[in-house]
Symmetry: C2
Subunit: 339 residues, 2 copies
């Protein structure tokens, strides 16, 4: 950690004066050192050969440090994955902090170091940013906004318009892990081993899939807030077709499954981080899963459903015992501030 002249963040660190500059010089610019950031202008100048995808997310997760990650890691992965879901390879991100007065500088530093490490792993540069400080009681430790920009993969054609009857629906990994990891720590639940968030950057995996399957990938989406149930409902509504899901095929960690039972939660509504769903040309679905199984974060991937012409705009689940029920969109909020 750099030698800073202060132990906690004060309102002055958001004032644009000497304290802001000290914080930026000694912590942020040094840590994120790169040519684009070095210009120290209000923005970064970038160039792209292809179309780009732009995505933004604010992260307000509580607690800011949790099993398997922290808000800094989540803020990079969340946006990197959203850009990847568009069929683009993320290249640059912005980093905007809203810090509550009183945050220990050590915590800020830990978060920034994780932002940097996660950005490095995803292969993105932090090229511009902003720091604001709000009074104690007007925020909650730290909120982070990241906006990501990436170049479209030349073979990507990701759109709900490409989805058609018979498309297979694939999930890349276990559901509900992130939500239960956060809930466990908030509710003080203990398991034999700690359930850790699966937050990760999916962009390298996505590129390999796009390289091989190109336009046979009709849609990708990361089912974060509202869980897979809400994401499938959004898609079913948009495509005006039906979605069938088979519960027995949905991968879930057995400890997460038990935790859901104890807490009375349906894992389909629990928030996810490190997974994505894909709608794939039926004839390529098995190959897609086989490939995904060999890639980072894809070992649990499975076909879990298909697109049908029946029950338009509705999601129907076949349960483990063979019963069928409509899965609706989440109505309220199971667990606030999950990301």
């Amino acid at each position: 950690m750099p030698q800073l002249d202060f132990d906690i963040i004060t309102l002055g660190h958001g004032g644009g004066g000497l304290l802001t500059n000290n914080l930026l010089d000694k912590a942020i610019f040094e840590l994120f050192d790169n040519e684009k950031l070095q210009t120290r202008h209000d923005g970064a100048v970038l160039s792209f050969k292809n179309k780009v995808a732009l995505s933004t997310d604010s992260f307000v997760i509580s607690p800011i440090f949790f099993p398997g990650g922290n808000i800094g890691e989540l803020a990079v992965n969340g946006t990197v994955n959203d850009v990847a879901m568009c069929g683009a390879q993320p290249k640059y991100i912005s980093l905007a902090l809203i810090i509550e007065e009183g945050l220990p500088v050590t915590e800020l530093w830990d978060i920034l170091v994780q932002v940097k490490a996660t950005a490095d792993k995803a292969g993105v540069l932090v090229v511009t940013g902003d720091t604001k400080v709000v009074e104690s009681g007007k925020g909650d430790k730290i909120f982070i906004n990241t906006t990501g920009i990436g170049e479209m993969h030349s073979k990507a054609e990701i759109s709900t318009h490409n989805i058609k009857e018979g498309d297979k629906i694939i999930i890349s990994g276990n559901v509900a892990t992130h939500g239960i990891a956060i809930m466990s720590v908030r509710k003080g639940l203990e398991f034999e081993t700690t359930i850790e968030s699966d937050t990760c950057n999916l962009n390298h995996t996505i590129v390999e899939l796009l390289d091989e399957f190109g336009t046979d990938i009709h849609l990708m989406r990361d089912p974060t807030r509202g869980g897979v149930a809400s994401t499938f409902n959004e898609i079913a509504r948009d495509i005006k077709m039906g979605i069938n899901i088979h519960q027995s095929n949905i991968p879930i960690d057995s400890r997460v499954d038990s935790a859901c039972e104890i807490l009375g939660l349906d894992p389909l509504y629990v928030a996810n981080e490190g997974i994505f769903i894909a709608f794939i040309e039926a004839s390529k679905a098995d190959d897609f899963v086989r490939k995904l199984n060999t890639l980072e974060y894809g070992s649990e991937a499975a076909i879990i459903g298909e697109v049908v012409n029946e029950h338009p705009a509705k999601v129907v689940l076949t349960s483990n015992i063979g019963g069928k029920r409509v899965v609706n969109m989440q109505v309220g909020e199971q667990l606030p501030r999950i990301c």
Copy 2:
């Protein structure tokens, strides 16, 4: 205002489920309707012919409605202007909201309408976004992050590296207006007429200047937090040259000047919004000011200083009565949450 089924924002509106979708469908997507947003994906796909500039800012201003503007207008103008300062014409922005539970929907709607109107005036499209809700007492009504992206002007070469001895320093309008407008309302000060924030979009003005003066514009910067004093200090430090400023040339509204005296504030440290400073090739400075005087928001523009080889990295002010003093960077915070 659209017919919504709720009067206040609840945690459920940030949950990614039905309430979030209701809010998005009935308010946000309808208001900001455009082809890029219609895809309803997690990001927007954009294409550019030239290099682009990317800039981000979070807005945490309090109060969220103030004389001359509101947080929605500010959030668009602030980012649009940062992109313009890079020498780019802003085209797209993202809009990420962090709402405190309990915000009346009417207030949210008023803000969103202002975002839309301001974006229209600046000629930018809102193409992607995010909505989070935090518990009451963990935020302050609403925080807004906008990230803007724009295409570089073909004649723009904006960089501190281009600044040289003799460059004239121009300011586009009255200093300290925004800060005093906010402070007046917070401190309950009353003047014969209300002092209003000068928040505005400078991008159309900047394009006209770049069209005519191109590479003779060495640097542009909007001196927001920390005031012109802090911005000049940052630049002096970066260029390792001296900056001379002549107080008598700095334009200021007489009511703002009086308010600064009453409040014991130095207007050089008060935050600005609707103005910018420019470092211009000396031989073109008079023409630049004359042109700026004919443009929107430029009627008060004036030459206020120059770059010198003496006192490197320092800003020296010649006062109204001819005395000279070093102007340092703002140390703490005069007025938190000014933007």
